[in-house]
């Protein structure tokens, strides 16, 4: 896709200070997002995937400016919005909207659906042709709700319907960029598919650009054009959908993909190997030195412990941050000494019987 990126993120950092004692001295920081750079192009869907605690939700809140970045730069349509105040951001809210994970806590229980979906018009001082009520009812219809339910309250709706209300609210002003944080993870499988299809249709109809944040690699594969894989506050791999799933380069991506259960019992017998990562994700308060994945990686060598690998393009439009990538030439071929404590490959790669 050509043209200027809609959103440009450069070296974005967010550290949450940890305060202790009577004087509330800062004793450390949760390095939730630690130097993340990427572009979002108009009309595309960027998927952001990672395990819990990798900073993907914080990243979503930074680019919508619900949080103040500690460092780095966020540009929306060429304009620096990194440190805009709440008031300065307000006009931009028309163009940047968010869909939240939990359809139960993101809707005010005391407001009717009409008030909730009509709020963006009131806050932005926009008077649509034919009045707010008509615009809201059109929006409700578009997301598959009955426009006559205008005066009902959130508790009268099911989870899937509430998520549709949240989507209607986010899209009421026809934003340019929509950031959706786990938009379907709270929904049942059959309802999840309805909402995924709805997001798809609305993107086509309204020419939306999405950043979709999710932990579910199957959902991400279905909805995204490009995908960023995050680990401990960093992007470790960024590529188009097809190459990412077919020839992943970062060992972490490969391990993630191999861990996803496949709904096909035949594959259980046919599958030769699954990469079982040891242990859990380390704490983002004191992330490992060098490559943050080296404590769980079966390819880790000395260089991984000391030097942080940069996110570089190893194949066209396929960026990865790894010294010893899969499906690409080794970036540190001289360094072959495995780290102490790194299990041999056959210990990590689990052979199924």
């Amino acid at each position: 896709m050509a043209g200027e990126p809609l959103l440009k993120v450069d070296g974005l950092v967010k550290h949450f200070p940890i305060k202790k004692g009577v004087l509330q001295r800062t004793v450390g920081a949760v390095q939730a997002v630690d130097g993340v750079s990427f572009d979002v192009r108009p009309g595309e869907t960027l998927g952001v995937v990672g395990e819990s605690g990798c900073g993907k939700s914080t990243m979503g809140r930074l680019i919508t400016r619900l949080l103040e970045p500690t460092g780095g730069r966020v540009e929306f349509e060429g304009r620096d919005i990194t440190h805009l105040s709440v008031g300065q951001m307000r006009p931009l809210r028309k163009d940047v909207q968010m869909i939240f994970q939990d359809p139960y806590s993101s809707l005010n229980p005391r407001h009717t659906i009409g008030t909730i979906v009509g709020a963006p018009f009131r806050l932005q001082g926009v008077t649509p042709v034919g009045g707010v009520k008509k615009a809201v009812q059109e929006m409700l219809e578009r997301v598959g709700l009955n426009p006559e339910h205008y005066n009902r309250y959130p508790h009268e709706f099911s989870g899937g319907q509430r998520q549709r209300i949240g989507i209607a609210r986010a899209l009421a002003l026809k934003p340019r960029l929509v950031v959706a944080d786990e938009p379907v993870s709270a929904l049942d499988v059959s309802i999840q598919a309805q909402v995924v299809n709805l997001l798809d249709d609305l993107q086509d109809e309204l020419g939306l650009t999405y950043v979709i944040i999710a932990h579910d690699l199957s959902v991400i594969r279905h909805v995204s054009d490009r995908i960023a894989v995050m680990y401990l506050g960093k992007i470790v791999e960024l590529a188009d959908r097809k190459p990412l799933y077919e020839t992943p380069m970062h060992p972490y991506t490969k391990a993630l993909l191999s861990a996803v259960p496949v709904p096909d019992p035949k594959r259980r017998a046919a599958r030769t190997s699954r990469i079982l990562l040891r242990g859990d994700v380390p704490s983002p308060i004191s992330p490992p030195s060098g490559c943050r994945f080296h404590t769980r990686c079966w390819k880790a060598t000395t260089v991984c412990e000391t030097t942080e690998p940069p996110l570089i393009e190893l194949a066209p439009a396929h960026r990865v941050a790894c010294h010893h990538p899969e499906n690409a030439p080794d970036q540190a071929p001289a360094d072959t000494q495995p780290l102490a404590g790194t299990p041999a490959e056959d210990q990590v790669v689990h052979q199924s019987e």
Partner: protein
């Protein structure tokens, strides 16, 4: 209309079985024996809004050494079923009928005291959220030790050795050190391991895992599923895994039961249900799921509408308002007559009014090509 499902009385006669199953302990000779047999289980709750029919007549068997996966969406009654088997519903609020045969004992009619003695020893359960299932004020070691001493009159020292052994078995590093840790000091995956250790400390012959990996990350989920599978192989126990995730059951289950609105709509081996699913709801579940193993840019095929309220379960087939094929059978019976479970292949049952040929045609011509 007989409420009993058609296969009752044909396969594995419910009732005290004589012979090999009479002796306690698990040995290879017992592998494949029916260990748990549920017959026409109904669990209803009285509420101010009406009677909630959470589980409305389901029957199934679980054999030693095999894993049964129960799949369904929220509110389909899968967790209520498992709590019913464990005898964890309060008798004054739940109306329970039917039979639950655990080995040679019927549990529904038994005293609470009897069921309590079985619970933990013969059957144990792993819950979805380990943080709320473990007591925050006690060390994990104390909790596992207690679980063991409830059923075994041994000294604390012996129980502790047993607990340490279990912690080691479920893959907790440095068990001696972690023994005196509190639940909040463990990560999600480690907590789930602690719960599994606690559930398995008495060598139960039936293990029920209710959404064991839903709260976990995908890499940790893979570890826990492997652990459950390995431990089952080692102990030869019967396992029930309850989940909404078809991927998880495909990984772990030998047999499958699909629930909808408190009823069983399809049952068979995992291969049968995934290869040749019979019920339109099962088709809907398969069509709704994005697949990691395919680059699919096609739209998903969702099930229309939402699951019904269990107070007002639709008459006839509970799935008919959402079923795209509800009008195929003539004479409106999908709306008036509740379909019974019928055998469509060896050990493969479905509750659907579609005629067999019609169903095969729809699956092979209309549904399967789009998946």
């Amino acid at each position: 209309m007989s409420e009993l499902e058609s296969e009752v009385g044909r396969s594995s006669v419910p009732g005290p079985r004589t012979g090999a199953a009479g002796t306690a302990g698990t040995s290879a000779a017992l592998e494949g024996e029916v260990f748990l047999s549920v017959r026409d289980l109904r669990i209803h709750f009285d509420t101010d809004d009406g009677l909630v029919r959470s589980v409305d007549g389901i029957s199934f068997d679980v054999r030693r050494g095999r894993t049964l996966g129960i799949v369904g969406e929220s509110g389909s009654g899968k967790s209520v079923t498992s709590l019913g088997i464990m005898g964890l519903h309060r008798s004054h609020s739940a109306r329970i009928s039917g039979e639950v045969w655990l080995d040679d004992d019927e549990l529904i009619a038994s005293s609470e005291d009897f069921v309590r003695r079985q619970r933990g020893r013969k059957m144990a359960m792993i819950f979805q959220d380990p943080l709320s299932a473990l007591h925050p004020y006690f060390t994990v070691g104390a909790q596992i030790t207690e679980a063991y001493r409830v059923h075994h009159p041994v000294s604390k020292k012996i129980a502790k050795a047993r607990a340490l052994d279990m912690l080691d078995r479920v893959g907790i590093p440095e068990p001696a050190k972690r023994y005196s840790g509190y639940p909040h000091e463990f990560s999600g995956g480690m907590r789930q391991r602690v719960m599994i250790a606690m559930a398995l400390v008495n060598n139960p012959e039936l293990l029920i895992a209710d959404e064991p990996t839903t709260a976990l990350d995908v890499t940790v989920q893979a570890q826990i599923l492997d652990l459950i599978r390995d431990l089952q192989k080692e102990f030869g126990s019967a396992v029930i895994v309850i989940t909404h995730d078809l991927g998880v059951v495909a990984e772990i289950a030998d047999d499958l039961l699909v629930m909808y609105a408190g009823r069983c709509v399809e049952r068979g081996t995992a291969e049968q249900v995934f290869e040749a699913p019979q019920h339109p709801y099962t088709w809907g579940l398969l069509g709704s799921m994005p697949r990691i193993d395919r680059d699919q840019t096609e739209r998903l095929i969702p099930v229309r509408g939402t699951p019904p309220s269990l107070i007002n379960v639709p008459a006839g087939c509970a799935f008919h308002p959402r079923c795209p094929h509800a009008d195929v059978p003539q004479d409106d019976k999908t709306r008036t007559l509740r379909p019974e479970l019928r055998e469509v292949g060896s050990g493969h049952f479905t509750a659907c009014h579609l005629a067999q040929e019609e169903r095969t045609r729809i699956w092979t011509e209309e549904v399967e090509p789009k998946l």
